[in-house]
Amino acid sequence: MGGTVATRTPGAALEAQQLGKKYGRKPVLENITLAVQPGEVYALAGPNGSGKTTLIRLLTGLAFPTSGVVRMLGQDIYNGGHLARRALGAVVEAPAAFYPHLTGRQNLEMAAFLTGLANAEARIREVLARLELLAVADQPVRTYSLGQRQRLGLASAILHEPQILILDEPTSGLDPQGISKVHEILSELAWKGVAVLLSTHHLREVSAYADRVGILGGGRLLEEVRLDTKGETYRLRVDDPPRAAAFLKTVPGVQNVSLRGVNVIFEGSPNVALAALVREGYQVQFLEPDYFDLYDYYRERVKNA
């Protein structure tokens, strides 16, 4: 492992600093630095082979980095820090793996035992109910559907009420109802102060509640997109968009004017922009908020990486 990284992110529940992993000479991850604060949802996105799963294995302590450090609640997880994993709930495979001959309830009992959870019976019933698994709780896991196993995985991860939750593709194999349920639970946990890090391909769904998205490509963290700081952006359609865009750039109270296809995109006051265009005799067909499309942004970012 490389040299110790002294700098810490204040208050971070989970942080990775200058994390790198090589298999032989081939680097799989390079210089990944990220931090997840309590109550924050951090989504990892990236094409297949970009290093998401390797990063999750490093973050959970299942694999060891060639360089860098991971801290959970300030504690280095690689050097005598197995107790730091008390704060961790994780699902690192899709579907989540369980002992197939045991029932869902027995698997959770085993997880509770390994975590040192006392009086687990009530909590197990609670998480089974939360994930809508009570009806199948006493059936062997080998009879579970893919979606049921995936939900049992989440139940196991949140069983001991962790402060950090790391999930690899938590909605993989779930039907739309199951996906909504998982997103609802993750939002709720984040609201309660749990730091959530998940890898996903479902960017549009996750952008509804994620605070930040880390875009991985070629083993590097290409960019972190902070979803809650995107400014108020609008788009409008108008006759002669290039001329209208050029005009709007001169209007006080309207900023960052650009063209996207036949639409004019701008930030600032929509009333000011609309009044100015009408005053100049432009035919405005519509004007509406331009929601940030994470998926489009991601595609663009990965393509240009």
């Binding site: 299942l62 694999a63 197995h82 690192v92 793996a97 002992y99 085993m110 040192g116």
Partner: protein
Amino acid sequence: MLRMLVWEFGKLVRLRSVQIGLLAALVLPILWAFAPGLRAQYGLELVSGWQVPALSLFTGMDFLFPFLTAMAAAEVLGAEVSMGTLKSVLLRPSPRSCLLGAKIIVVLTYPFILLTTSLVGSLLAGLPFGLGSFFGGTGLGPGSFAGVGQLTPSGALMELLRAHALAGLVLWPLSALAKLYAVVFLSTTSAALAAVSTLLLMRLLVAFPAIQPFLLTSYLDLYIRPDSLGLSLLIIYTAGFALLALLIFERKDI
């Protein structure tokens, strides 16, 4: 730790290789006791049921028991890898050494379970020949099958228990070696194959007299000719392989 051990033993008996192994250990003596070619093979006419266990032990220790032991030791970890449950277990806040330590204890116990099953099967198969006092030997004590006079049931049982206990110790280094390979390869097949290949290779190395005293294979028949040097060496090998497995597993990427 105790509950972890109970949990690991519970998983052990569910392993396919263990179930097949125990069945084989139980059935083998029955086949041998009534095999028509027995006399030709060993020049032996069974005079007592107490002689059946030795036949099973000779035959089993030749290849079957080492093979079954290596398979089980490899599968104890390999099955968890293939099911994906190893990751789930390692995500919990227990030291890796605790988990592997429990597995090592379990795989070191397995040879005794296997040999006890073989002994029980042998004694059951020996019932038709009688389990009373007899003139002769068990094949595992002084005078081999010819014996040194009359042997009482308790004397015969003691000889058998001692020989089977020693045979269990003989299988220990192989269990530990298979476990070490399982940690390195994280695969049942590769680990079992590597352990058995190592054993076969060591058998070939008898051609080098200088290293022969240090080979595991030089002591595979320790159960009929106890030797304190050999016993110490087997225990050192076992401890070495187990410690190496623990050391590697501590920093192993899963």
